[in-house]
Symmetry: C2
Subunit: 280 residues, 2 copies
């Protein structure tokens, strides 16, 4: 299988490594809007060579769009404009509703598969690509009834080989759930980093005192603006909805602390503890 990957950052790069590690691709050709990143991806052995977008798509059995989410819909259309009946185009982005709407009436809609592997780290660029990514993490496929059966089967067999269980849902449903389990965590983490940077003027103390708990809640604050600004604005209404609830929960806890309401805090923490059922 010849694979073309547009966007050679964390996700595109890690997917290239995974395909190579499982011998799923005969050749991996890459494209990145940053010439520096493209050259770095070749140097790191992530892709065999680079090509321009139109040429890369035309020659590939599978095109993967792994660019920031605000650029995915137009690239998906441009890729579909260039593929035939046996070629497949897949994205791996964090947002699906607008994307699936944009491609919905394309004459080659059937060749498109909307995929979101639920994996990432706080790092970006080709040098952030890791071996073993995606393993054990779900991949969401959206609106698969609009994709040709063989295209979906090709994508499913790749993620099956990578050890990623497939979950199917509607694009709108995906964006709602992604706001809850991914986007809000990033907003919280950015805000927590800003809080500490704002209030803790003596940075030495953060260094000295930060334990594992702080690191784990603030880790995502290292994530790139180029990735996250388009996600937060693109998923605006869902993110605002969750954010409103999150601020409300913090205000409830704040009032309990203000009133020395130990009983209320105990009940709230015990309820929060039930998250154990979900993230063992």
């Amino acid at each position: 299988m010849k694979v073309f990957i547009a966007g050679l950052g964390l996700i595109g790069g890690s997917l290239a490594l995974a395909l190579r590690d499982r011998s799923l691709a005969d050749e991996i050709v890459g494209f990145d809007a940053s010439e520096e990143h493209a050259a770095e991806a070749v140097r790191l052995g992530i892709v065999d060579r680079t090509a321009d977008f139109a040429e890369g798509v035309a020659a590939a059995d599978l095109t993967v769009i792994a660019t920031p989410v605000d650029t995915v819909p137009m690239l998906a259309v441009k890729a579909l404009n260039r593929v035939g009946d046996r070629q497949t185009v897949m994205d791996v982005g964090s947002l699906k509703a607008e994307l699936c709407e944009v491609v919905s009436m394309h004459a080659r809609r059937g060749r498109f598969v909307a995929a979101h592997p639920m994996w990432g780290t706080e790092y970006s660029g080709p040098s952030a690509a890791c071996h073993g990514a995606f393993e054990g993490r779900s991949v969401v496929l959206c609106d698969t009834e609009l994709s040709d059966g063989d295209a979906v089967a090709a994508v499913e067999s790749i993620f099956g080989a990578l050890g990623s269980p497939v979950v199917r849902m509607r694009a709108e449903e995906h964006d709602l759930h992604a706001a809850y389990v991914s986007h809000i965590s990033h907003v919280t983490s950015f805000a927590l980093a800003l809080t500490v940077l704002e209030k803790e003027r003596e940075e030495r103390h953060i260094f000295d005192l930060a334990g594992g708990g702080f690191e784990s809640t603030v880790r995502l604050a290292k994530s790139a603006a180029s990735t996250w600004v388009p996600i937060l604005t693109g998923n605006k209404y869902n993110v605002l909805d969750v954010l409103r609830e999150h601020i409300h929960q913090l205000q409830v806890i704040r009032r309990m602390i203000e009133r020395d309401d130990a009983e209320g805090l105990r009940a709230a923490i015990s309820r929060a503890n039930t998250i154990r059922r979900i993230i063992r």
Copy 2:
């Protein structure tokens, strides 16, 4: 050295294991208000045997108080009431201001060392005790000028052997910084868990979609109410101060998303990214 540990949970239990692993104690005697936990600690080989509090303190070279923070000041006084010139009492709790005030005028104040190892996990009880805890994590010693030199030296040599760099600060200063780098992370995590549990009615989707980012920001929400209610209420004013700033930061981000202020979001995220300097 004979060590007596009161409170055989995550911290007390892990300290017992660390002392044993480094051959720093000839005998480790334990006490826990829960008979079940005390018996479990013996069964797990965390302590050699149990004793009642008064007896345990009297016979020990070093008494460690590792109980929930609301019980530490009284136990510190009771321990100091029972020690002589060559015995040391240390606590390992998350709050220091009230504790240091309570013991400040005790006739044996010099035998007390206020210590806070900056390590923990979201689990509790004797079964949560881990080998290798504390290594590479700082330990804060507070108000050491009020402790006898030999008592501080004894505590420093223990943490030196465990691989924990020692940081000294005033008790009030400790509680302020602890609010920033530890307590707020727990509040955020509890609130995030409650947000998701409140809004995400279809729990199956949390299971399916939760990636590493969600797990890392919500992990602390599994922490026990019995540990955290006393910390949050005991450090009330510092926690409220940080919480107010954190809610403010979230509201600023919310307004930027509402207004599609990509430029503002980019600037905020880039500033949040500077946390990289601190938690590499």
